[in-house]
């Protein structure tokens, strides 16, 4: 959950220059006195980097102070929606792909029309992700892909070769079985019930899709999608992954950090978390995801957006633009929390954690698939959790859950069109 749903879209590489829609007619004026902007974020590991960027902005604009507000991801969008309804959202805040269109279409966000923004230095698909009706609402902040984190000590002890780009689903399952040791309470893998780090990857790898390209129909009624889901439920059924109940009691990444799980599919953002834990700092490393019928990983990226009802429209937009600047990207890269979206600053991020082979996250870019989104993604994300839980607990066969999920998701997608 933490920074989970973070991702979306993109085939990195080609950068296109975007002409912005003409500026709005009434230009907001500068505030006369000192200004304090609030900046909403959800990842505690990134707070130090965000604070540094805020300080750099303050140094350049002495009358503007930025106050970083942390709300954990589990509550972030709940709180944000309530706050935005009440006119109390932060002036600038993190936005992700699944929620962007809902907020933009309801007038909650202020397009970046009063500041100069250059979208050339960013991956094109990330730039497009934060456009609505021809206007740019946010500059890409970062991007992330998913990799296979593993515990080197467990591999050594079990005499299993470390994962690399030759791995397939079969190699992964075989290794997971060998690494499982019930006597030590150790599991080979963790089949966590999440899309971005979990079943979206395997659905793509199996050749399926979550939502159709036109955003009108669900991909869950395709046998290939079911295959991608079964990848995980099979691990649970074979007892090489903790049960759904166990993973609710103790979060899988923390089982990995406690040395109870040998392989964990996690994001590039996990580098910061795994460095702060003594065990994973010493024993963990990362590889590319194993391949199924094809190679795939999920890619997504955040952006910084401005609240439409902020008191300081101009200052907030300036700060949002600064957050997308090269300077800000370099601060992010240097503290190594996430991969900055600004082209050319990624190598610095790889170098920030020499103990992990982070290049693997970038090597997956050529076949990375955007995180699936639509106009109201959150609605069917809830349906995913509700329906798939039954397959994960073993209460129901996977294809049954997937079929019902496809039905309810199609109904929700049909509502979006109206």
């Amino acid at each position: 959950m933490r920074r989970r749903l973070i991702s979306v879209a993109v085939a990195v590489g080609t950068a296109a220059v975007m002409a912005l829609a003409a500026c709005s007619s009434s230009t907001p004026t500068e505030a006369s006195g000192p200004v304090t902007l609030s900046y909403g974020v959800w990842d505690k590991n990134q707070v130090p980097a965000m604070q540094k960027i805020a300080d750099a902005f303050h140094a350049a604009n002495p009358n503007v102070t930025v106050n970083v507000q942390l709300t954990p991801y589990t509550d972030y969008f709940t709180k944000l929606q309530v706050a935005a309804t009440g006119g109390e959202a932060p002036d600038v805040f993190w936005m992700n792909g699944p929620n962007f269109q809902l907020y933009a279409s309801n007038g909650v966000l202020q397009p970046l029309t009063d500041v100069q923004v250059d979208t050339a230095p960013y991956p094109e698909s990330l730039v497009k992700l934060y456009q609505y009706q021809g206007k740019q609402y946010g500059l890409p902040k970062d991007f992330d892909t998913v990799g296979l984190w593993y515990n080197k000590k467990h591999f050594d002890a079990a005499g299993v070769k470390y994962p690399d780009d030759t791995w397939t689903w079969a190699t992964f399952k075989e290794a997971a079985t060998k690494l499982t040791d019930p006597a030590k309470g150790q599991f080979g893998a963790a089949a966590q019930l999440t899309g971005q780090e979990g079943y979206y990857n395997t659905i793509f790898q199996a050749g399926g899709q979550v939502v159709s390209a036109d955003g009108k129909s669900s991909g869950y009624d395709d046998p290939k999608a079911v295959e991608g889901l079964k990848f995980w439920t099979d691990l649970i059924a074979a007892n090489v992954s903790p049960s759904q109940g166990q993973m609710t009691d103790t979060a899988p990444y923390q089982m990995f950090e406690a040395g109870k799980v040998s392989m964990y599919w996690g994001g590039s953002w996990d580098a910061a978390e795994f460095t702060s834990n003594a065990l994973t700092k010493a024993d963990a490393d990362v590889a590319v995801l194993p391949q199924g019928a094809q190679r795939a990983t999920v890619i997504h990226g955040l952006s910084n957006v401005v609240f439409a009802r902020t008191k300081y429209k101009l200052e907030a937009q300036r700060f949002a633009a600064f957050l997308g600047s090269k300077e800000a990207a370099e601060i992010q890269a240097g503290t190594g929390t996430v991969i900055p979206a600004y082209n050319g600053t990624q190598a610095e991020w790889v170098a920030a954690y020499p103990q992990f082979k982070l290049q693997n996250f970038l090597d997956q870019l050529p076949y990375a698939k955007p995180l699936p989104v639509s106009a109201n993604t959150a609605a069917w994300n809830t349906a995913e959790t509700d329906e798939l839980t039954k397959a994960w607990t073993g209460a129901e066969a996977v294809d049954q859950s997937a079929k019902r999920l496809a039905e309810s998701m199609n109904a929700l997608l049909a509502k979006e069109g109206r």
Binding site: R2, L70, T71, A83, G259
Partner: protein, 287 residues
């Protein structure tokens, strides 16, 4: 021989009494372990590392006493700021209720004014409605008053209480009228009678209400959860849910945070134990 059975009877009764005592204390100690034991385990876990806390079988004492969890909890949320918020919230609500409820209670108990029964009925209605169900309109009101995401919004509705009014009214009704009569003959105004005669006499009731309000305010979750969005305006109870959101199931850190959040109340309880328990007992028996 007639004395013999009596003696054995006496012996067996002594024996039975002692047996009863042992059984009673065993039972009480078991209850104490069940009720206070979780706190001990909370304390011990808070000094373990994540890896140690997941050992099977568990270690009882931490292998080495690891204080970092407290640091993590303190940086995870602005604990001191939240502690301040919780204290302000508890004190303002308590003082507000003590003053306003006792005033209203005095009017209901001693003043004969037109419309008393109607107003009393309205108060009764408020009492029957669980305030949790009113949070949507209350949220709208705070929005209209431009108070969302402020500490004022957290404590404002809780300064008024139908319950407190009823509790104190019961107290006032039970107090003898003679003292006031004397004051009235001396020409004292109702304000003076309320302040100098009734309030001092109603001290046990005020203490009971004060303690109950203080505990409820400190522990309240739903309302502050809804009305605050910035961690700087949250109370400790909301802060804990935020800590859990960040650290998920890193229990040693969560135990450290929970312990820090509850220590102030536990300390107050240890010091004022007698008053707290008597106050609660008093609110339960009718004044």
């Amino acid at each position: 021989m007639p004395s013999a059975p009596a003696v054995t009877g006496g012996d067996s009764r002594v024996w039975r009494d002692r047996g009863g005592r042992v059984a009673a204390h065993t039972f009480l100690i078991a209850a104490v372990i069940a009720l206070a034991g979780p706190f001990l385990w909370e304390l011990l876990t808070s000094f373990k590392t994540l890896a140690e806390s997941t050992k099977v079988p568990p270690t009882v004492l931490p292998e080495d006493w690891h204080g970092d969890n407290y640091g993590e909890a303190l940086t995870g949320i602005p604990m001191w700021k939240m502690l301040g918020n919780s204290v302000v919230n508890a004190i303002v609500r308590t003082l507000g209720q003590l003053l306003f409820c006792s005033m209203a209670a005095y009017a209901f108990a001693r003043l004969d004014f037109p419309g008393r029964r109607v107003l009393f009925g309205l108060f009764l209605t408020v009492l029957l409605v669980p305030s949790q169900l009113l949070v949507i309109p209350q949220y709208q009101i705070m929005q209209d008053l431009n108070l969302l995401n402020t500490l004022t919004a957290v404590f404002l509705p809780g300064m008024f209480s139908a319950f407190g009014t009823f509790l104190l009214r019961q107290f006032f009704l039970a107090l003898p009228v003679e003292l006031e009569e004397a004051a009235r003959l001396d020409g004292a105004s109702p304000l003076r009678i309320y302040w100098s005669v009734l309030l001092p006499l109603a001290r046990p009731g005020l203490i009971a209400l004060g303690i109950l309000t203080m505990i409820w305010s400190w522990n309240d979750l739903l309302w502050p959860l809804i009305v605050t969005t910035d961690t700087a305006n949250m109370t400790l109870s909301v802060g804990l849910t935020s800590l859990q959101g960040q650290f998920q199931t890193d229990y040693p850190v969560l135990m450290a945070g929970s312990l820090l959040a509850t220590l102030p109340v536990i300390a107050v309880f240890v010091v004022l134990q007698k008053h707290v328990i008597e106050g609660i007992a008093l609110s339960g028996s009718k004044g």
